[in-house]
Amino acid sequence: MTAKQRPLNRILMTLALIPLVSCVSDDVFTEPNMDFGSLRAVAVLPFNNFTAEEFASARVRDAFSTMLLATGALYVIPPGEVARAMGAIGRIPREGPSSEQIKQLADALDADAIITGVVLEYGPVRSGSASANVVSVSLQMIEKASGMVVWSASSTRGGITVWDRLFGGGGEPMNAVTEKVVNDLLDKLFD
């Protein structure tokens, strides 16, 4: 290798590493036999919170419910109504509701499906002197009639980019990152 080729190789290697450095990851499952057009109303249960931020799950759930309702494709049962129904059927395990509980909840709320979720990351991440906000969410949709998971997806947005490393800046605001995650999940739901 000549001395002139070395810098070029370094640039190419750096470019190849960029997608790895900025946190973008996708996972989606869709039940092939499910007719999603038959769904009219869904209930979004409180998400599990695996982060240190106390109200991270409430924030992400609120953003998801609002933006899902805005699509006009599905009616989202108000959160207070969901809480009332959950109180009536008793304790729901941290791992998620059982098939029986899904049925009871859906009947009480007149919902066609139940959406559960987990907030895996919500807050700033650091690497050296650079820091940026990251949000990672995983969702499941469980159909009332079959009690089966018909859709599942996860998304992570934000994180430290090359720009943040080079010039600082602290990344995007948390709300903006949350909206990106929710938009990504909605894209996966309606694709």
């Binding site: 933006m67 108000p78 959160p79 009332r84 709300n175």
Partner: protein, 407 residues
């Protein structure tokens, strides 16, 4: 001689600027009514409905504390009474008011039930009740104060006749060479209360002179310098304060007058009483919409307590059912939401909330939106457009949300 000529030439633009500023200040003064020695003679018969006229006897309730900490409530009330006296308002004396409050065990002065309104009217002769909430009071090097006040006509049912709010920071909108900086908390309190009372007096005199109902009460507001500004109901708020995602179904029937009830927002923020503060901001902004009739927050609270409704997890259809039934308030639209952030301390203010509107007829959510902003968002040069208090920020955001709703 030469030097004098050259200096006079250089001074000319400065004199021109000063003259322009003087003219501007004169024109702004001219737009505001001035206090007088006593109540003016009515020019037209009192308007129909439940308007409170300038010169009617009003009861001034003790200040409601929404600061989340101890605050000089008596001092604020004293300044408020002094400012009302300056305008010649007739006020129920403190002893008579205290007797009624003792008899009916009134502790929450942020809202009253219809029964207490009736009792106040019968026992003291008060036509209206002035309720004021202190949102923020800091007396550090650069003090801050935020107040929200409303005058409720004590009819059956009671109706809001006027409402306004003010949020000032001593080091906020200080103007040229920081001449507007205020370091004395008492002085800032005086400016804030004066603005509220000027707005009240201006609204009542205009309403009376024009002989129309409460619509003219809804055009005045206090700006970030504590000056009353009059704006047209058609004037739009700033785009950057509108909801990020204008979502859901807008209210389309413009020929209908909707009755609206606002429930205290569910508070998930660190700031105590943020839910009640957002509720007041939305009531204030919704009052500016001519097609809406807004129920007084005191009546909403009374109905929720009477029906033992607790909002533990956000808006629910049960809350809406209670407030929309014809036996209670009969509200067509129920506004509610969740506050995630309300930072009104020193530094850059930040407000983050979601809004949900439930309709009586369909019994469904007809509007849902999310709003979040900071005082420096969209500010690029020299702090132009910066918002210094969470009060101003929340007011602008509530205005943006209500405007988006009526589009």
């Amino acid at each position: 001689m030469i030097s004098w000529t050259s200096s006079s030439i250089s001074i000319r633009p400065v004199w021109g600027l000063l003259a322009l500023l003087a003219l501007l200040s004169l024109s702004s003064c001219a737009s505001r009514p001035e206090p007088s020695d006593g109540p003016p003679e009515p020019q037209l018969p009192p308007p129909a409905g439940q308007a409170v006229n300038y010169g009617d006897l009003i009861a001034v309730l003790p200040i409601s504390n929404l600061t989340g900490t101890s605050a000089p409530l008596r001092a604020v009330e004293k300044v408020l009474r002094a400012q009302l006296a300056r305008w010649g308002f007739r006020i129920v004396d403190a002893d008579s008011l205290a007797k009624v409050m003792d008899r009916y065990r009134i502790r929450d002065t942020g809202g009253l039930s219809p029964g207490v309104f009736r009792a106040l009217r019968e026992e003291t002769g008060a036509v209206g009740v002035l309720m004021t909430s202190l949102e923020v009071f800091y007396e550090d090097r650069f003090p801050r104060i935020s107040l929200m006040s409303r005058l409720v006509a004590g009819g059956d049912p009671p109706e809001i006749a006027w409402m306004s709010g003010v949020g000032l920071a001593g080091d906020g909108d200080v103007g040229l060479l920081a001449l507007g900086r205020v370091g004395d908390p008492d002085a800032l309190m005086e400016i804030a209360v004066r603005c509220l009372v000027d707005s009240l007096a201006g609204s009542l005199t205009e309403t009376q002179a024009l002989g129309s109902s409460a619509s003219h009460n809804r055009m005045s507001e206090c700006d970030s310098r504590g000056e009353v500004v009059y704006s047209s109901p058609e004037a739009n708020g700033k785009r950057r304060f509108r909801p990020r995602k204008p979502l859901g179904s807008p209210i389309t029937d413009v020929n209908r007058r909707y009755s609206v009830a606002v429930i205290p927002f569910l508070n998930l923020s660190q700031r105590r009483n943020a839910g009640r503060i957002l509720e007041l901001h939305f009531v204030n902004q919704l009052l500016r919409n001519e097609s809406l009739s807004v129920v007084d927050p005191g009546l909403v609270r009374q109905e929720l307590l009477a029906n033992r409704v607790v909002m533990a997890a956000g808006p629910s259809l049960e809350n809406a059912r209670v407030l929309s039934s014809d036996e209670s308030l009969g509200a067509d639209l129920i506004f509610s939401g969740v506050v995630f952030d309300y930072q009104d301390g020193y530094g850059i203010p930040k407000v983050d909330f979601s809004l949900t509107v439930i309709e009586k007829e369909s019994h469904k959510v007809v509007w849902s939106s999310r709003s979040y902003s900071t005082g420096t968002e969209g500010v690029l040069f020299f702090d132009l457009g910066r918002v210094y208090t969470a009060h101003q920020l929340a007011a602008e955001m509530a205005r943006g949300a209500t405007e988006a709703l009526s589009r």
